[in-house]
């Protein structure tokens, strides 16, 4: 491995130490440098914001991290399915709601919430396979729109089935009440909705990483997401991979739903209300890329929560006197989504398609200003988007 990636040629006669095999590859070193630069920038931004807004921004950042961890769990599930089956699952939010309600039902009937979450995790996995077998396998090869329509139908059935069975009331999970743990005055974190959510999110990220990088199934999943035909030709059982993707996707949805219900309340529309956030995370990260989804989820969740002080500042009458400023925080992921669609439709971490130009719009605008016309507007690679 080290020989393959070592940047300097191995001089003859030199004796490799036994730890040479563990030397990081060039790619990994590059990523490490990028990550540390990103970390430094993030820390700098946060400290600058703390300087401007005070300690409260750290509280919002903490809230953003919690939201991000939920979004990341959901976005990994969505993007795995998106990459392998090639369609946007609009029922994903409602699958989250279903998972939350299953856990709620079990925990109201005497089980602890943890067992409820585990059972709902397993049940949702079966639901995912059933969805593929009954509906979505028949829509293969018919383009992106028919599966979207069918998934919206699934979502409507789940949402309104829950409404007619469980009513529209808000439910709260039966968890022991706890006080915020105060780190410094003005900055605290709740042990259940904060720390537990963060830990579960981290555990899911790590397990997704292990699954994708260190197992044969994960390798097959990445290959299938990359190129279905080639994966088939190399002898990968893509049918099995598809089922695995549904299992991963739906069970992650269940856990994300339970976490979401822990943070707020369990309502029939809780999943549909956050679907925009999750789609933004998936597209910002690059469709089909779980690592991109993690990055996108972090970006989207943090920016949504940390925009609140700014929006509250806008509420002041001497600024523009906006009413209910913090309600608009939901628009922030949308703005990020549009910016990414304009400048980098294949996502932050996604791979750039072969013929894509760096920024379509800037090129177009300069061409219009320059008066040059008649060139072909879109290339084949761009017409296929970020894939």
């Amino acid at each position: 491995m080290a020989q393959v990636s070592g940047s300097e040629p191995s001089t003859p006669g030199r004796v490799w130490s036994r730890w040479a095999a563990l030397r990081p590859t060039a790619r990994f070193r590059r990523q490490l440098v990028q990550a540390s630069i990103g970390l430094v920038i993030a820390v700098a931004v946060i400290s600058a914001l703390t300087f401007v807004f005070g300690i409260i921004i750290l509280q919002y950042a903490m809230g953003g991290l919690v939201v991000s961890s939920i979004v990341i769990v959901a976005a990994i599930g969505l993007t795995v399915l998106y990459g392998i089956r090639g369609f946007a699952n609009f029922a994903y939010g409602d699958l989250m709601t279903l998972g939350a309600y299953l856990a709620l039902m079990l925990s109201l009937n005497g089980l602890s919430l943890i067992w409820g979450a585990i059972v709902s995790f397993l049940v949702l996995a079966i639901v995912g396979i059933l969805l593929e077998v009954v509906i979505f396998s028949r829509l293969e090869g018919r383009g992106p729109v028919p599966p979207i329509v069918a998934s919206v139908g699934v979502g409507l059935i789940i949402q309104n089935g829950i409404r007619s069975v469980a009513g529209t009331a808000e439910w709260i999970y039966p968890v022991p009440a706890a006080q915020n743990i105060v780190i410094v005055p003005g900055l605290g974190i709740h042990p259940v909705t904060g720390i537990l959510t963060l830990l579960v999110g981290l555990a899911f990220v790590i397990s997704a990483h292990v699954l994708l990088k260190y197992t044969n199934l994960g390798k097959a999943m990445r290959a299938t997401a990359d190129n279905l035909e080639l994966a088939k030709a190399t002898g990968i059982d893509t049918k099995r991979v598809t089922y695995a993707a549904w299992v991963v996707s739906c069970s992650f949805a269940s856990t994300a739903g339970v976490l979401l219900g822990l943070g707020t309340a369990v309502t029939p529309t809780m999943g549909f209300d956050v679907i925009l956030l999750i789609f933004a995370a998936v597209i910002v990260g690059g469709i089909g890329s779980p690592y991109g989804a993690m990055l996108g989820g972090l970006l989207v969740g943090l920016s949504q929560e940390m925009s609140v002080p700014f929006l509250v500042w806008l509420e002041r009458p001497d600024v523009i006197g906006l009413q209910f400023g913090s309600a608009y925080k939901v628009a922030i992921p949308f703005i990020i989504l549009i910016i990414v669609l304009i400048f980098r439709p294949w996502g932050i971490a996604g791979r750039r398609p072969a013929f894509a130009r760096r920024s379509f719009f800037i090129e177009r605008i300069t061409r219009v200003i320059g008066g040059e016309r008649g060139a072909i507007e879109t290339s084949a690679g761009e017409a296929n988007g970020g894939r």
Partner: protein, 525 residues
């Protein structure tokens, strides 16, 4: 298109079968209206009220038809999938409301703001308001489509869905422009009536205006679809890269089609604002609107303007009927003997089974010839079950069971006239074909005599429509019974309706993506 000369027309018509599916659709619409009227009569509404209700149905259905035409232009003709119909609808409605209302200053009573006021108060004429609404929605559609249009279809769907939900948040919170949760009230009517039957007159005015607009629109859209411009749109839908290779700037064509479709949705929103007399960020602009419009267009067959309009009347009819049926439910639950409780639940389950069977029939278009054995048994069970359910419903509450007395002989007639003969024929065909495969020897071309060619399963379609009608009556009827006895809340009727829309979406996209009211395949060029 059609050449002149009556002889030519007669020759064209000679070989053509009657458009059964459309006839059935019109019968179904009439059935929905009749059922609604019946529900009104049973609920004890005045004739005036019932007429107003029917007028309301027609006016909102016309609005949905305009929405469906806009979506059909985007998806059916050009293949651009819009998941934010409700957003463009909202823009149209609010633009119209802001443009044509009188000024409304904020109201503060005792230091407490009661009404935040809203932007506008320009008191413009209605037509100007409608044009502004179209312009605003079209511009919004163009802007939102600009980044997403060059990408795959699902990017556009996600971007528009996000746009619609953001718009609803803005409508709710941007009080200085939209009036907040209260919305904008006091939108002037086209003609102000002062007499006692003003609601009915208002509804009929709107129906008149809406129908005129609809007529103009459908003529215009048909003309546009047949023009070179429309041909390019269809070429883009079929194969964008080939169209590009032929030297067409597909991006511009797509942008035009999307913006025009958005403008039509804005027009629908303007009509809606005038019809209701107020706009508020309520369920009128919820994502469910978008999904209903999808169903309307898919039922009619995407790319089929007539079908979109018929679909709008059918699907909105379902919604309207569920509202009418909800009014039948008494506010205070009746007391039911315990042994009848299970009975009532049973009825609802049966209704669901019958509806689903009907949907399966009409949507899959399976002739009985193509049915497997289990499906045949499903038919038998569903038929028996439907008859039983009708009888039980009649026993439990005679008034609710009344429609079934009419439906029962019809179902028997359908069974003996179409279902059974078709099945016998199917058995004969399968028997003969199995015989044909038996004898060994040199392979020969299978002989297909005219008697063996499968009959067009008109009966199945009729059966399917009737089953759906039963279902429309049996499900809500059973739900009304259940709600009357306090088992479920009244709103469950609505949830079941939306679930049926979901089932329709899945079944249609799986089995009849070209729609129930099929258009003849057109050749490009």
């Amino acid at each position: 298109m059609a050449s002149t000369g009556s002889g030519e027309v007669a020759k064209q018509m000679a070989g053509r079968k009657l458009p059964w599916s459309e006839i059935i659709a019109f019968v179904a619409i009439a059935g929905i209206v009749l059922a609604g009227v019946l529900a009104g009569v049973l609920a004890g509404a005045s004739p005036q009220g019932i007429l107003t209700n029917v007028g309301f149905y027609a006016s909102i259905a016309v609005i949905f038809a305009v929405l469906a035409l806009g979506f059909n232009l985007q998806w059916g003709y050009t293949g651009l999938f819009n998941a934010g119909i409700a957003g463009f609808y909202l823009i149209g409605a609010y633009t119209m409301a802001i443009a044509i209302t009188a000024p409304a200053p904020p109201i503060v009573i005792g230091g407490i703001p009661v009404y935040p006021g809203h932007l506008g108060g320009y008191s413009l004429p209605l037509a100007v308001g409608a044009i502004l609404a179209m312009f605003a929605s079209g511009a919004a559609a163009a802007i939102i489509a600009l980044p997403a249009l060059r990408l795959r279809a699902d990017y556009l769907a996600i971007a528009t869905l996000a746009f619609a939900s953001i718009l609803q948040i803005f409508a709710n919170n941007l009080q200085s422009v939209t009036g907040g949760a209260i919305g904008i009230t006091g939108i002037p009517k086209p003609i102000e009536f002062v007499s006692a039957d003003a609601p009915f007159l208002n509804a009929s005015t709107i129906v008149g205006i809406g129908s005129a607009i609809l007529l103009v629109l459908i003529l215009l859209l048909q003309f546009m679809a047949e023009s070179p411009w429309g041909r390019v749109l269809r070429a883009v839908r079929e194969d964008e890269e080939a169209t590009m290779a032929l030297g067409k700037n597909t991006f511009n064509y797509k942008l035009q089609a999307f913006a025009l479709g958005g403008a039509l949705m804005g027009l629908a929103g303007a009509l809606f604002a005038v019809t209701l007399g107020y706009v508020s960020p309520s369920s009128s602009f919820a994502p469910t609107v978008t999904f209903s419009v999808w169903v309307m267009v898919i039922v009619g067959g995407s790319g089929n303007n007539r079908g979109a309009i018929v679909g709008a009347f059918l699907i909105y009819g379902m919604e309207w009927l569920s509202v009418q049926l909800k009014d039948l439910v008494p506010q205070n639950p009746l007391v039911l003997p315990p042994d009848l409780q299970g009975f009532a639940t049973f009825i609802v389950l049966i209704g669901v089974v019958v509806t689903l069977t009907g949907l399966l029939y009409i949507v899959t278009g399976w002739g009985l010839l193509k049915l497997r054995m289990w499906a045949w048994w499903l038919t038998v069970i569903a038929s028996i079950v439907s008859i039983v359910s009708q009888l039980t419903q009649f026993v439990v509450v005679p008034a609710y069971g009344f429609p079934y007395l009419i439906v029962l002989p019809i179902s028997l007639l359908v069974y003996f006239r179409w279902v059974r003969p078709t099945f016998m024929q199917a058995r004969a065909v399968s028997a003969s074909s199995s015989n044909e495969s038996l004898p060994p020897g040199p392979p020969s071309f299978p002989k297909r005599t005219p008697s063996m060619t499968p009959r067009r399963p008109v009966g199945v379609t009729v059966l399917g429509v009737l089953a759906i009608l039963f279902g429309f009556l049996a499900v809500p009827g059973g739900l009304v019974v259940l709600a009357a006895f306090g088992f479920i809340v009244r709103d469950t009727i609505f949830y079941i309706r939306i679930m049926i829309i979901g089932v329709l979406l899945i079944l249609l996209i799986l089995h009849r993506p070209e729609g129930i009211l099929r258009e003849k395949k057109r050749v490009l060029g």
